[in-house]
């Protein structure tokens, strides 16, 4: 979507909806369960109710009469619902009440009420099972909302009483959320707000600004994953909450408009359809993998233009105070103490992390015993010991030694050789620039020479990919603490330390600290393996928390000027 065009983009979004509904209408025979192959009947019923919901919402959200494509869809829905082979399943398949009730709700909302269909629903609802079997909270909200739209009476607890049990209302950590959890959140908002038509009775401790922040954080992650289905669902949620003028909303529209194909279809994420469903039928596969996302995109455009959907100023983002000082200090103490019992050549990164974090904390003395010990044990180390760890590690170790006035002859020799070799280079690649500055900080090369080397190589290839926040969910699921630490460090360096995604990733890391101060839960019983893993994880997390601590501006003493 070209947001640089005059106007607010509403005509472009209207065009997105028109194209999407036209594409759905042209394939409306595919939502007919009677026409579906045996293995596709349930899928057709699911698509039928979702299409019906879109049409029903169109009737509610826009006072104008339905246009041709919406009318064609409604006619198809009415024709299917009129058949006994469809509607009488309500009495036989009570566990799937919602799959049928939504169809009736749409007909009712569009002024095509059907008393016999209504009686079937009312009987099932009163039958002691269909509305009574235990559902997870957001499905309970789905039930309540559907019964409300159907006008079917019930004596179930109200939505306000269910909301406190939902994931949305319990301050979820965004980096831990699987796709199904995000759907739980989006659907909770759909039902609670009645698709933007009411203010829900939120629990007393619910903070709308936190919910908006959560949705915008999820947009960042799902946009990174290029998941149009979830992007559209989350965009709908922001619109249901009245938020339409934010940077994240603008980015979401831009992405969805670009993702829409010329015919109107919007492709869904991989994996939503069982591979066996299409069974080599490409046209069916094309529809099955795109119809849901296309419906949600159309709904977003509908919510955007509806005069009935409430609008509000975007609530200010919360500004929680982030402090990692205490856990960082405890981890530094453990890492320093544990590293000393190991080979200094292998544990050099841990010692460097200790030195780096002690300086960030303004408590250089935390690193002194370890630095003294390692400098003595590495006094005659071969050049390869330093070479293999790289400048980031060796540089931080050297800064630590310098802060305490400690010398290490083998390191001095190595640095002299390296500086001489660097002097022979004509340029350095971009990913080495930071480490060249470390050489400057140690007084090993002149600032002007470093600047010339970096400038000459600025157009070179970046061989190291930038970390992506979208990788956080997978890293959490797979317990890759080092990977999480790397992403958080990059975010903190990029000025995003207060972003909800970064804060939640930090919160995740902090919950992995044990009482001894180490990070990570190895979930194994071998003491040697446990210690090796905890050393690796703690080194990574300590490095990251030091960056976070500095970025939060809470260093007890100003760090010395260095790269």
């Amino acid at each position: 979507m070209d947001t640089t065009q005059p106007g607010d983009g509403s005509s472009q979004r209207r065009a997105v909806e028109t194209r999407a509904v036209a594409w759905l209408a042209a394939r409306r025979d595919l939502i007919d369960p009677a026409e579906a192959a045996t293995g596709r009947v349930l899928f057709a019923r699911k698509a039928l109710i979702e299409t019906a919901f879109l049409v029903g919402l169109r009737a509610r959200l826009d006072p104008e009469p339905l246009d041709g494509h919406y009318t064609a869809l409604l006619d198809q829905i009415e024709e299917i619902a009129a058949r006994p082979s469809y509607r009488e399943l309500i009495a036989r398949d009570e566990a799937a009440l919602l799959l049928y009730a939504g169809t009736y709700a749409a007909l009712r909302l569009c002024g095509r009420d059907d008393q016999e269909f209504r009686q079937l629903l009312t009987q099932a609802a009163a039958g002691g099972y269909a509305t009574a079997f235990e559902r997870i909270p957001y499905r309970q909200l789905d039930l309540l909302h559907t019964l409300e739209l159907c006008g079917v009476p019930h004596s179930l607890p109200a939505m306000d009483e269910v909301l406190p049990f939902t994931l949305l209302c319990n301050k979820p950590n965004v980096v831990k959320l699987a796709d199904r959890d995000i759907y739980a959140i989006t659907h909770t908002i759909f039902y609670a707000t009645d698709f933007g038509l009411r203010k829900p009775g939120w629990p007393p401790d619910f903070d709308l600004s936190e919910a908006v922040e959560l949705l915008e954080a999820l947009l960042v992650l799902t946009l990174d994953q290029r998941n149009a289905d979830l992007v559209a669902e989350i965009l709908c949620c922001l619109l249901c909450l009245g938020v339409r003028d934010s940077e994240e909303v603008r980015r979401a529209w831009e992405f969805l408009a670009a993702a829409q194909e010329a015919e109107g279809r919007v492709n869904g994420p991989p994996g939503v359809v069982h591979p066996g469903l299409a069974d080599g039928d490409d046209a069916y596969q094309h529809w099955a993998t795109g119809y849901h996302t296309t419906i949600v995109v159309a709904l977003a455009a509908l919510l955007d233009r509806s005069p009935k959907v409430m609008r509000r100023q975007r609530p200010s983002a919360p500004k929680p105070r982030l402090s990692v000082e205490q856990p960082l200090r405890r981890a530094v103490l453990w890492l320093a103490d544990t590293s000393r019992r190991h080979d200094p050549a292998g544990c050099l990164p841990a010692a460097a992390a200790v030195a780096h974090a002690a300086e960030a904390l303004g408590e250089a003395e935390l690193a002194r015993p370890l630095l003294l010990d390692f400098s003595e044990r590495l006094a005659n180390a071969e050049a390869d010991v330093w070479q293999e760890h790289g400048m980031e590690v060796v540089g931080e170790f050297a800064f630590g030694l310098r802060a305490h006035g400690i010398t290490c002859p083998s390191l001095d020799t190595f640095f002299k050789s390296t500086a001489a070799a660097v002097a022979l280079l004509d340029k350095v690649p971009p990913q080495a620039a930071h480490n060249v500055q470390r050489l400057v900080g140690l007084g090993l090369i002149a600032p002007q020479r470093a600047a010339a080397l970096i400038d000459a190589g600025v157009d070179g290839p970046h061989s190291l990919p930038k970390t992506s926040a979208a990788d956080l969910s997978g890293a959490c699921k797979n317990y890759q603490l080092g990977h999480i630490a790397g992403i958080v460090r990059d975010s903190a360096r990029a000025g995003r330390v207060q972003h909800r995604v970064t804060r939640d990733a930090i919160a995740f890391l902090l919950t992995q600290q044990s009482s001894c101060g180490a990070f990570g839960r190895p979930a194994c019983d071998d003491p040697a393996i446990r210690e090796r893993m905890m050393l690796s994880w703690t080194q990574s997390v300590v490095t990251t928390l030091a960056t976070v601590h500095t970025a939060c501006g809470t260093a007890l003493t100003a760090p010395r000027p260095r790269p």
Binding site: R180, L277, G390, S417, A420, A485
Partner: protein, 70 residues
Amino acid sequence: MSCPPPPVDARKALDFLRTSGLVDLRVPLEQVVEQVSQLDDVAGYVLAWERYVLVVANQVAECDDGAAGN
């Protein structure tokens, strides 16, 4: 008289400058992943309903067709 070449050559110096290691990106133990990945199966009683409504798996469809007679 020419100077001896430095023990660190230009290639090694570049490698040294490019290497980062303060954050360890290795996965120290694969079995951690293997252990927790089983939890989804344990939680199947919750996920079954979600598959039924949100993401219809073929197997579920087949079971349902048999039950509903459609």
